[in-house]
């Protein structure tokens, strides 16, 4: 198992470099530079700025410099936020997004799995009602759910601040808003696959053995969790790296909003910082998901060459 994980991590390193290299060149081919939006820059000032940030070097030279700095953990200065390094900024924003995303992930997992399990085991009306709720959760966009929650819980009931990121309780509404869609998806995925497993012959064998319904469901869920785990890899990465919509609605200084604005500003170094965070999360969660799949299913373990 450890050997498998190490092998995956070693293979992930070149993938990571390919991603950042591609992004490095891609952002520079997009028309427009970091200082285009500043008003009334004289050509001399622009040239001086470009020279200061090394943007007048040829691309390969810039790339080599970038790698050199990266090896020291330095992502360079931000072009937009003067006097702040990208490393520092990204760390600050990522912390906010991680807190928000972590809370949302926890909510989505507990609510999603619980609803999915109840819906798969229950029958008739309860199951149908839960299915309808999860379908609604999938269809409702965050920019509708967020304002509705604000309207009810802060404007009417006054329990929470409408927006901002100052107090501990400020995490509640945005994390619920962010979690809703994922919880609904997880519920649907888990319900469908659990119901499929419960209809299989081996579940009948378990009943014929004299197992309780709960035990039968638990044994079936080991196979039923696989689609959920596969879905969780990109979903968790998406939640933890911040959501533009949710951060905008609740005015939260997170990475998601930052990523979009840095792209619009052609803030090259900042884009690289955000991309790296995202790439690392995606890669790590995919490795974790594959390990989890192997732990759940011995057949998958065999295919992946995992030995315990």
């Amino acid at each position: 198992m450890i050997r498998y994980a190490l092998r995956r991590i070693i293979f992930a390193v070149p993938v990571f470099f390919i991603i950042i290299t591609a992004v490095f060149f891609m952002v520079r081919f997009v028309p427009g530079g970091p200082f285009d939006r500043e008003r009334q820059l004289s050509p001399e000032t622009l040239a001086a700025l470009n020279a200061y940030y090394g943007l007048d070097d040829s691309l390969p030279v810039q790339y080599v410099k970038f790698l050199k700095n990266l090896s020291r953990g330095d992502l360079g200065p931000s072009y937009k936020y003067q006097n702040r390094s990208v490393t520092e900024l990204v760390r600050e924003k990522a912390k906010v997004s991680l807190e928000l995303g972590g809370a949302a992930l926890a909510i989505a997992l507990t609510v999603g799995l619980a609803c999915g399990a109840v819906s798969a085991m229950g029958r008739g009306r309860l199951s149908g009602a839960l299915d309808a709720v999860s379908l609604a959760g999938i269809c409702l966009p965050a920019f509708v759910v967020g304002p509705v929650l604000i309207w009810i819980f802060s404007l009417k009931l006054g329990w929470f601040n409408a927006m901002g990121w100052r107090e501990a309780r400020d995490i509640v509404l945005p994390s619920v808003t962010l979690a809703l869609f994922y919880a609904a998806w997880i519920a649907k995925l888990f319900k469908d696959s659990e119901a499929r497993e419960l209809a299989k012959d081996y579940s009948r064998t378990a009943i014929a053995k004299g197992e309780s319904p709960l035990r039968v469901a638990a044994e079936a869920s080991r196979a039923a969790l696989s689609p959920v785990v596969s879905y969780l890899a990109p979903a968790a990465a998406g939640m933890l790296t911040g959501s533009f919509v949710v951060e905008s609605i609740f005015n939260i200084p997170g990475l998601g909003k930052f990523f979009i604005s840095s792209a619009l500003d052609s803030d090259y170094t900042m884009i690289m910082g955000c991309v790296m965070v995202y790439a690392i999360f995606i890669i790590c969660f995919n490795i974790l998901a594959d390990i989890a799949l192997a732990l759940l299913n011995p057949r998958v373990a065999k295919e992946l060459g995992v030995r315990k």
Binding site: D201, T205, A206, A208, K209, E211, R222, L296, N297, R299
Partner: protein, 286 residues
């Protein structure tokens, strides 16, 4: 008093407003240590009859069961969930047709048997040893090693042996084997039948064996019930039914048994119109 006695069992399925009567009033009994075969063609209601004995049929309202099934004078159809769980596996154990799908693919075979032992024999201290013993009893070599094998690592015959070991591990009074050899190839079929015969002899257990193959029941089952369209049309000692069948359907079934030594298998197709006509003439009521 028989160990199991089924009286006027009726089973019907509702789907989309249509009701199908799968079993239309069946009565039979199984004595202690006795082995009874239920023979009949596909769709005649053998499996649903067997399933109803541990209430394994769908409980979502789509299936209706009536009649009585007395096991040690207790009506299975009146049991509460707790009593049913004690009955399933503990008193009546099942072996199904398809061993490859009847085992949970993500747990080792040993664990799956161990679960049954833990459920029904809480007094067993060393569950693992008990499971290994059960595996050895059904002729699995290197049983201690095989304990941690997953179902997909075993052949079909081995998987069926595991199913049998699981069924036997809780010392049931009655084993219900629903076409236990149909999914296996011929040489393995014979091994499994021999295994069942030996176990029955050693344990003094009762068995209901479901098959549509008259060939395998000789020397294994003492009595035969012939099912046709949801009814038992004929029953009696195996030899008598084999050599002196009364009902036209039974005659047709026996004519279908492929004989050894013949060149090529003779596949007789059953002429239902003729059976119906003859049955009416003989006074059988449908």
């Amino acid at each position: 008093m028989s160990m199991l006695s089924v009286e006027n069992l009726k089973i019907s399925f509702k789907s989309g407003g249509r009701v199908t009567e799968a079993v239309k009033g069946v009565s039979f009994h199984v004595d202690k240590g006795e082995s009874v075969a239920i023979v009949g063609e596909s769709g005649s209601g053998k499996s649903v009859t067997a399933m109803s004995l541990a209430r394994l049929l769908p409980r979502d309202g789509s299936c209706e069961v009536s009649g009585r099934a007395l096991f040690d004078s207790e009506d299975i159809f009146q049991m509460n969930p707790k009593e049913l769980r004690a009955l399933r596996g503990g008193k009546i154990a099942y072996v199904f047709q398809e061993p490859s799908t009847s085992l949970n693919p993500v747990f080792s075979v040993g664990e799956q048997i161990a679960e049954a032992v833990r459920l029904h024999r809480p007094e067993v201290k060393d569950v693992r040893a008990c499971v290994v013993e059960a595996l050895e009893e059904v002729g699995i070599r290197r049983a201690a090693e095989r304990y941690s094998a997953y179902p997909h690592e075993l052949s079909g015959g081995m998987q069926q042996r595991v199913m049998i070991a699981m069924a036997l591990s809780c010392r049931p009074r009655l084993l219900v084997a629903d076409e236990p050899t149909t999914a296996l190839d011929v040489t393995i079929q014979k091994q499994i039948i021999d295994l069942l015969r030996e176990i029955l002899k050693n344990r003094g257990m009762s068995m209901i064996l479901i098959t549509h193959n008259f060939g395998i029941i000789r020397g294994l089952c003492s009595r035969v019930l012939v099912m046709f369209r949801g009814r038992i049309v004929e029953s009696g000692p195996t030899e008598e039914i084999l050599y002196n069948p009364k009902h036209p359907y039974t005659k047709a079934l026996i004519a279908c048994i492929p004989r050894l030594g013949r060149s090529g298998e003779r596949l007789v197709s059953i002429d239902y119109e003729k059976i119906d006509r003859e049955a009416r003439e003989l006074g059988y009521a449908y």
